[in-house]
Every structure is written in C-alpha cells, then in structure tokens.
Symmetry: C2
Subunit: 252 residues, 2 copies
C-alpha cells in the first residue's frame, strides 16, 4: 500500500494478484475485485453460478460478497467471521470457509480485470430513527396514545410462548398485550399477538386484551384481528430530529 489509502492493479498477473490479496488480508484492507468468475457454494444450501462478470467485495471482518449487475442482494456471499484464502490450482481460486455452520464459498477467477485494496478508516455508526423500539419508548412516555388509563408495565417481556413487545394494564385492571409494528401490519403480526394473548390467558387466567399498534393493517390482518376479538390502534413510528438511536451526539 506504500502509505496510500488505495492500491489498484488492472489486469494483474497471478503474482500481483497473490501479493495484493495476501497483503490486504494481512493489513485489514477492503478488497474489491472485478472479474469473470464461476462460483460454487455449499453449506446451509448449495448453489452453482456459471461464468460471468461480477464485483467481489471482501471485508477485513471476513464478510464476502459477490454482486451481479442487478439487485440489492449479493448473488453469493459469506458472513462475517469467515476465513478467506487465495489458492492456485489450474487458476486462482478464492476460498472462503465458515465453521458452525460449515459453509464454503469458492470463486474461480477466470479473468481478473481489476483488483484493489482500500485502507478504509471508519469510526462512525449509523444513527437511525423511525424504528419499532422508538414506538415503544414513545408509548412508555405517553401511554395515553394507546388509550386513557393505559399503564405500560413491561418491555420485551418473556412469556411462555414468546416475547411480548409491551405488557400493561388498562384502566379496569385487565392485562393488555401490545404488539408493535413500525410499518403496515400483516397476518404474521396478528398471529404473534394471538399467540401472546392465548399464552397469558393460560398463565394468568382472566381476561387479556390484545392490541396491534401500527400505522395501518393489511386486509387479511384486519379480517383475522376482528375474528379473534383483538384490537387495533393506529400509530406511526416517531421521527426523532437530528440523531436518532446509535451513538449519542454529546451536547456541549
């Protein structure tokens, strides 16, 4: 890297390839490779990808991404913690291995158009607002958003068959389960809520109310919710101004 942030080789020789890969893996650089390649994956599932041009990204934490020219998702990948090495068989092959579960990714490099190493320095974390956990905070701050007299008692409360978002009581002392969704709630959300309500009825006895709290409902979710005698409270996730969650910006 000779003191620079970026090292690039166009159509590198095998020797150059080996040197740059080895150095990058050693030094903790991000490796980016443009290459014609074939990909073989075997692990939780198994896949083959024939020859074509792709962008390969290898991060110092072991993350390994192979991107085609379309879609947000990598066509093949390996998660953080995987160990990568460059093998020389007929041609150069990138091999990434994960253990637990055992998964291997092999990339036959048929033609390397470019390889680059990037000494990236980054100390920042994403600060995001509009999440479900912020909805929960908002409800604890202003319980009347649910209904007059609602008292939230537990957050992420483990019960017999799952984990309830918010557990509280209404003005009459009935147990109330809230299931929060940051976006339009689907059947899945109603199933969750029903599971929690049924578990609490068994554990606790007596009447238990279930309220789905979300900006809106799908048609099917509303149908099931009504059939099951569950309730809906419309609520949007809040948008904190400036920094959201993440690292707190220290004032002054």
């Amino acid at each position: 890297m000779s003191g620079e942030k970026v090292l690039v080789a166009i159509s590198p020789s095998t020797e150059e390839l080996v040197n740059i890969v080895d150095s990058a893996l050693l030094e903790g650089d991000v490796l980016t490779i443009f290459a014609r390649c074939r990909v073989h994956y075997d692990g939780r599932a198994k896949s083959e990808l024939g020859s074509g041009d792709r962008v390969i990204l290898i991060k110092p934490d072991g993350s390994f991404l192979i991107h085609q020219t379309k879609k947000r998702e990598p066509v093949n990948w390996q998660p953080p913690g995987s160990r990568v090495r460059l093998e020389l068989r007929e041609g150069p092959i990138l091999v990434s291995v994960r253990k637990k579960p055992r998964e291997t990714l092999e990339v036959e490099l048929e033609d390397v158009y470019m390889i680059s190493a990037f000494r990236a320095e980054d100390y920042e974390e994403l600060s995001l607002t509009g999440s479900e956990s912020e909805m929960a905070e908002m409800i604890f701050e202003s319980p009347e958003l649910i209904e007059p007299g609602f008292r939230p008692l537990f957050r992420e409360k483990q019960i017999r068959h799952g984990i309830v978002d918010i557990l509280g009581k209404d003005s009459r002392g009935n147990l109330v389960v809230l299931e929060l969704k940051r976006r339009r709630a689907e059947l899945h959300a109603v199933s969750q809520l029903k599971r929690y309500v049924e578990a609490l009825m068994e554990e606790n006895g007596g009447n238990v109310r279930g309220i789905l709290v979300a900006p809106s409902l799908t048609s099917g979710a509303r149908r099931l919710l009504e059939k099951e005698g569950l309730e809906f409270r419309k609520l949007e996730p809040p948008r904190r101004t400036g920094a959201g969650k993440g690292r707190q910006t220290t004032l002054l």
Copy 2:
C-alpha cells in the same frame, strides 16, 4: 471506457468524477467508489451517518449500496429502480431517489480516493438447491415421507387466513396441513401452522391435522406444538446433484 472493461481514476478531480459518473450511468456500467463521505437517508425511516471511509456500489438497475468495513449488510442503500445523479453543491453529492415509497439517499463525497466503472457482462443465473420449494416437490414425489397413505392435493393453497404450503389428506380421509421449513423450525412456524389449521377447521369443519415438516425444532416450537396438538415430521431439504432450480442445463 475506450473499449476496455474497466476504467479507474485515483483521486479524481471533480471534473473527472463527473465525467466518469455520467458516462457510467449512461452506459450501464457498475460504479465503484472508495470515498470518505457522509450519508443522509430519509424514507420509510430516517438515518444519518457521520464522516468515514466507505465503499459505494451503484448498479445499472439503480441499486445503490454503501458498505462500511464490517458486516454483510450495507449500512445504507437504495433498491433497484432508484434514480441516481451527481450534484455539485459545496462539494459533489450523490443523490439517489426512489418513488413509491418516496425515499432519498444523499452521499456527500468529502474525499474520493478512487472511482471505477466496470462494463460487466453476465448472462448467468444462480442455480440453488436445498430450498423449501424442493422439499415440497420431494413430498409430492414421495408422499410416504410424511406417513403411509398421505395424499398431497394442493401446493401453496390460499385459504381464508393465509397460504398453506401443502394441503392433503391422510389414509382416513382427514384433511392434513403441512407447514414446511428448510431449517430448524421456530415458534413462528408453529403459529403459522396453527393459523392454517384453525382456518380450515372453521371453513371445512371436522378434524384437521397440522404437521410441521422440518429438519428440527427449537425448544419453544416443540412446547407450543405439543400444547396445540400439532405434529412434527423430521425431514431435511433435498440436495439435487449438479444444477438445482434456476436455468435448467439441457442434457444431450
């Protein structure tokens, strides 16, 4: 691109930056940028990311990825179909806009270490085996994998409250719902199965059996399954040899 697959500029001037970005967007190249940048996102949620070194990937289909040095997931992104442009304010800013839902991603490029355009050609599709849909095919081919006398009748059958993986009948003529999972089944899977069984009991009347078909169960899933009188059949997803799903390799 002057006839080559790859064009690279190290520490480009603003003019070079503009030229390469414009040309790549026009020509359908994959753009890769190493830069110190700040990121602002607003859409379904809202986020801020302070200054740091990242890898930026922009695909010809509008996919936009910003990667930090860790994790498999991009820290910020825009999905396919988004429209990107390079604006010049105080400095260069990449702006990507998606409509429906309206989402904007802005990347302030504080220091561009490298920019490259890659004229990638790729006509291959991933061929994957070990999926849930292959489990379903296997069960239709060999219903006795479930139990003697089991007859599968419908695949992905829409019912009142959801879509059943496989609907069939047992040797006694009872309706049987199968919920398939390609990996260890969790509480969620049992909730699904229960929802389908209850819906069919209402719709159809009479006894309806529910069988969760998966390689294994979590402790909680087993607990709920037993409480609800549902059944479990251990089954691994099959591994087709050679090509799996995807493009069929024509034999002969």
